[in-house]
C-alpha cells in the first residue's frame, strides 16, 4: 500500500506546467528581431509553460529585447510569438490586457503621489475609476508602501520606487507579469522583500511570471523554469528542478601534486573530469569506479587529495555550461 505525500505548491507548479491542454504562456515561433542590420534575436523557438520563468543571459544577450518584443514595443523581423495563444502582432491589445510590466529603468509619471500614479495605470488598463482607486490602495499595501502611498514618487528611495513599479504592474491583476531586473540596486533587506513578493505572486497560482535578471540567485529563488539566451539565441531552456534531479552527482576534488598525471590516470579509468583551477577539479565517476579507487590512483601518482566532496550542478553551473556550449536547444 502506498501513501500519497501532501503536494507542495512547487509540485503543483510542476504539475501545471506539464498540462499541455492549455496554451503555453509564451510560444515562440522562429521569433527574430533585427535593429537596422543588427540581428538581436535569432529564430527563437519553443513554448514556455512555467509558473515562473527566469530569463537569463549575459549583457546584450537579448533578454530585454525579447520582453519588449513580447510587449509589442518592437516588431519581429521574422517569425512570431504567442502569449496564452494570442499572437503578439495581431492580438496586441488582447495580450496587453493580460499582462503587467515592471520596466528595468526608473519609469514614472512626474509630480504624482504613488496612489495617484498606480490608479492612473489601473485606469489605463481598463479599470473603472473607482475600482482603480481601490485596487491602487490595495496594491500599494500589498507591496508594502501602504504608509507612504500619498507621498510624491520623486521623494521615494530606490527600493520604494521598485516596489511602486511592481504595484503598477499588478494593479489590474494581470495573468502574466514581466519583471525586468526587479532587484536592481536594492539593498539586501529590500531585495529579500522583493523576492518574497515575487514568490508570493507565483505561489498564488493566479499569475505567471517572466523574470529577467542577471542575478542567478534571484532566478534560482523565484523560478521553476529558465531560459538562457546567448547572442540572441536560446542556449538552454529547462525546468530547474528536473535539471537538478537529472544532473549526475560529481565529486569536487582539491589536490596537491602533479595534477596532469592524475587526470590522465582518471581518464584511463573512464572518468569524466573538468579542471576548474590548478588545484581543483570536478570528477564524474563511471559505473564500477569507487571513491577508494581515486585514493589508490592518487597514491600511485603521488598526488595528495586535500578535499573531496559530493556536489550537484547549481544554476551557476548550468549557466556557465550554457555559455561554454552554446545551444542547449529545446
Amino acid at each position: 500500500m502506498s501513501m500519497a505525500l501532501p503536494a507542495t505548491a512547487h509540485d503543483e507548479a510542476i504539475k501545471t506546467q506539464t498540462t499541455y491542454d492549455e496554451p503555453a504562456v509564451v510560444d515562440l515561433h522562429g521569433l527574430s528581431v533585427t535593429f537596422g542590420r543588427r540581428p538581436i534575436l535569432k529564430n527563437l523557438r519553443g513554448d514556455l509553460r512555467g509558473k515562473a520563468i527566469g530569463l537569463l543571459g549575459p549583457n546584450g544577450a537579448g533578454k530585454t529585447t525579447l520582453i519588449h518584443t513580447l510587449l509589442g514595443f518592437h516588431e519581429p523581423s521574422a517569425g512570431t510569438a504567442q502569449i496564452f495563444g494570442h499572437d503578439i502582432v495581431h492580438d496586441a491589445n488582447a495580450i496587453k490586457s493580460l499582462i503587467g510590466y515592471m520596466p528595468e529603468r526608473d519609469s514614472f509619471i512626474a509630480k504624482m503621489s504613488a496612489v495617484h500614479f498606480v490608479r492612473l495605470m489601473g485606469e489605463l488598463s481598463g479599470l473603472p475609476s473607482e475600482a482603480a482607486l481601490e485596487r491602487a490602495h490595495e496594491a500599494l499595501f500589498y507591496v508594502g508602501l501602504g504608509e507612504a502611498r500619498y507621498r510624491k514618487l520623486e521623494t521615494y528611495s530606490l527600493g520604494m520606487k521598485q516596489l511602486a513599479k511592481l504595484a503598477q504592474a499588478i494593479v489590474h491583476g494581470p495573468r502574466l507579469i514581466f519583471l525586468d531586473e526587479p532587484t536592481n540596486g536594492l539593498d539586501p533587506p529590500a531585495r529579500l522583500r522583493m523576492i518574497k513578493l515575487i514568490r508570493d505572486i507565483r505561489d498564488s497560482g493566479q499569475a505567471n511570471i517572466v523574470l529577467s535578471s542577471h542575478l542567478l540567485l534571484d532566478v534560482e529563488e523565484c523560478c521553476d523554469e529558465i531560459l538562457i539566451l546567448r547572442d540572441g539565441q536560446i542556449a538552454v531552456y529547462c525546468n530547474l528542478e528536473e535539471e537538478r534531479k537529472s544532473n549526475r552527482k560529481f565529486l569536487m576534488l582539491e589536490t596537491r601534486g602533479d595534477q596532469k598525471r592524475f587526470v590522465e590516470a582518471l581518464a584511463r579509468l573512464g572518468c569524466e573530469y573538468a579542471i576548474t583551477n590548478p588545484t581543483r577539479m570536478k570528477v564524474v565517476l563511471q559505473d564500477g569506479v569507487e571513491v577508494r579507487d581515486l585514493y589508490r590512483l592518487a597514491a600511485q601518482e603521488q598526488v595528495q587529495l586535500r578535499r573531496l566532496s559530493y556536489k550537484r550542478d547549481s544554476l551557476e553551473d548550468i549557466f556557465l555550461k550554457a555559455m561554454e556550449n552554446g545551444h542547449g536547444g529545446l
Partner: protein, 306 residues
C-alpha cells in the same frame, strides 16, 4: 483583494470601453493644472474679452440701457462677421498663452521620466496616447475659444431674430472652424516640441520661437523683395489669412507701394498681394503633417539604437 488579505488576486470586474480610455489622460492632467492658483487666475482672465463681447451684444439690443448711458446705438460696433472675427482673434491670443503654459510639459515630462513604456505596455496605443495628450489642450482651449463664441453668436441670434441667424449662419461655421484650426495647430505644435525637447522652459521658448522667428524672417523677405510671399512662413500671417477667409473678410490686395524719385515723383507702383488662400491652407496642412510625422517618430516606448 482587500487590504487585510494581502495576497495577489486578479481583477474580475467590468472594464471601461477601449475607445474612451484616451480621455483618462486629460482627466488626470486637469487635476494637476487646476491645482495652480496662477492658472485658475489666468483661466478667469481669458473670459474677460468674452464678457465685453457679451455686454456689447446686449447693449446693442437694449435701448433703455443705451439711453441711460447716453450712447447712440450708431456709436457701437456693428455685430457682424468682423465683430466676431475680432473677438475670435483676441481669444486666439489667449489660447496661445494657455498652450504655452500647459503644452510644453505634457509629453516632455513623460519622456524625461521614461513613462512611455508604462502607457504603451497597456491596452493603450501610441495614437491614443497622442490623442489623450492633445485633448488636454483641445478641451481647455475650446472652452475659451469656439464654445463661448458660439454661445454668444446664439445669444446675438436670439436677440436679433431668426432672419439674422439665417443670414449669418456662415459666421457660426467660421467661428468653429477658425478656432478649431488654431487650437489644433497649437496642440500639435506644442506636443511636437514637447516630444522633441525634454525641458519645459526650453520647450516653451521653442514654441515662442517657432511663431516669432519665421514671422521676422517672413517680414524681412516681404520688405526686401517687396512681396507678401514671406507671409507663407509666418504662422501668425497664415492663421490670420485663413481666419479672414473663413469670415469672408480676406482681401488679397493688401498694399499699393509707391516708389518715388528724390523729388517725390512716383516712379512706379507696386501692388502687394497676399498669397492665395489655398496656399495658406496648404502650408498649415504641411505643418500639421510634419508635426504628426515627428510625433510618430518620437512617441515610442523605447528608442531603438540601430
Amino acid at each position: 483583494m482587500a487590504v487585510y488579505e494581502q495576497s495577489y488576486k486578479p481583477y474580475t470586474g467590468r472594464l471601461t470601453p477601449e475607445w474612451s480610455r484616451f480621455l483618462i489622460i486629460p482627466r488626470h492632467a486637469y487635476r494637476a493644472v487646476f491645482n495652480s492658483k496662477l492658472f485658475i487666475a489666468f483661466f478667469a482672465i481669458c473670459f474677460l474679452p468674452l464678457l465685453v463681447e457679451a455686454i456689447l451684444i446686449y447693449l446693442r439690443h437694449n435701448f433703455g440701457a443705451l439711453a441711460a448711458m447716453s450712447i447712440n446705438v450708431r456709436e457701437l460696433i456693428p455685430v457682424d462677421g468682423f465683430f466676431f472675427e475680432t473677438f475670435v482673434n483676441i481669444q486666439m491670443g489667449f489660447a496661445f498663452l494657455m498652450a504655452l503654459l500647459i503644452g510644453p510639459p505634457l509629453v516632455s515630462r513623460d519622456l524625461r521620466n521614461n513613462a512611455l513604456p508604462l502607457y504603451l505596455c497597456r491596452p493603450f496605443s501610441r495614437t491614443e496616447y497622442v490623442m489623450g495628450k492633445m485633448s488636454v489642450l483641445l478641451i481647455l482651449l475650446s472652452l475659451i475659444t469656439w464654445i463661448p463664441q458660439l454661445v454668444l453668436f446664439l445669444f446675438q441670434s436670439y436677440l436679433e431674430g431668426l432672419a439674422w441667424f439665417k443670414a449669418n449662419v456662415s459666421i457660426a461655421f467660421a467661428i468653429v472652424i477658425a478656432s478649431l484650426v488654431w487650437i489644433l495647430l497649437l496642440a500639435l505644435l506644442s506636443q511636437t516640441i514637447s516630444a522633441l525637447v525634454k525641458w519645459r522652459v526650453v520647450a516653451s521658448g521653442a514654441l515662442v520661437g517657432l511663431f516669432l522667428i519665421p514671422s521676422v524672417f517672413g517680414a524681412f523677405i516681404n520688405e526686401v523683395f517687396s512681396t507678401r510671399i514671406g507671409n507663407l512662413v509666418s504662422l501668425g500671417a497664415l492663421i490670420r489669412n485663413v481666419t479672414a477667409g473663413l469670415f469672408g473678410t480676406f482681401d488679397r490686395l493688401t498694399e499699393i507701394r509707391r516708389v518715388r524719385d528724390f523729388d517725390g515723383t512716383i516712379l512706379r507702383e507696386i501692388v502687394l498681394y497676399e498669397p492665395p488662400l489655398w496656399s495658406s491652407w496648404a502650408m498649415l496642412f504641411l505643418l500639421c503633417a510634419v508635426c504628426l510625422a515627428l510625433l510618430s517618430w518620437k512617441v515610442k516606448a523605447y528608442e531603438v539604437v540601430r
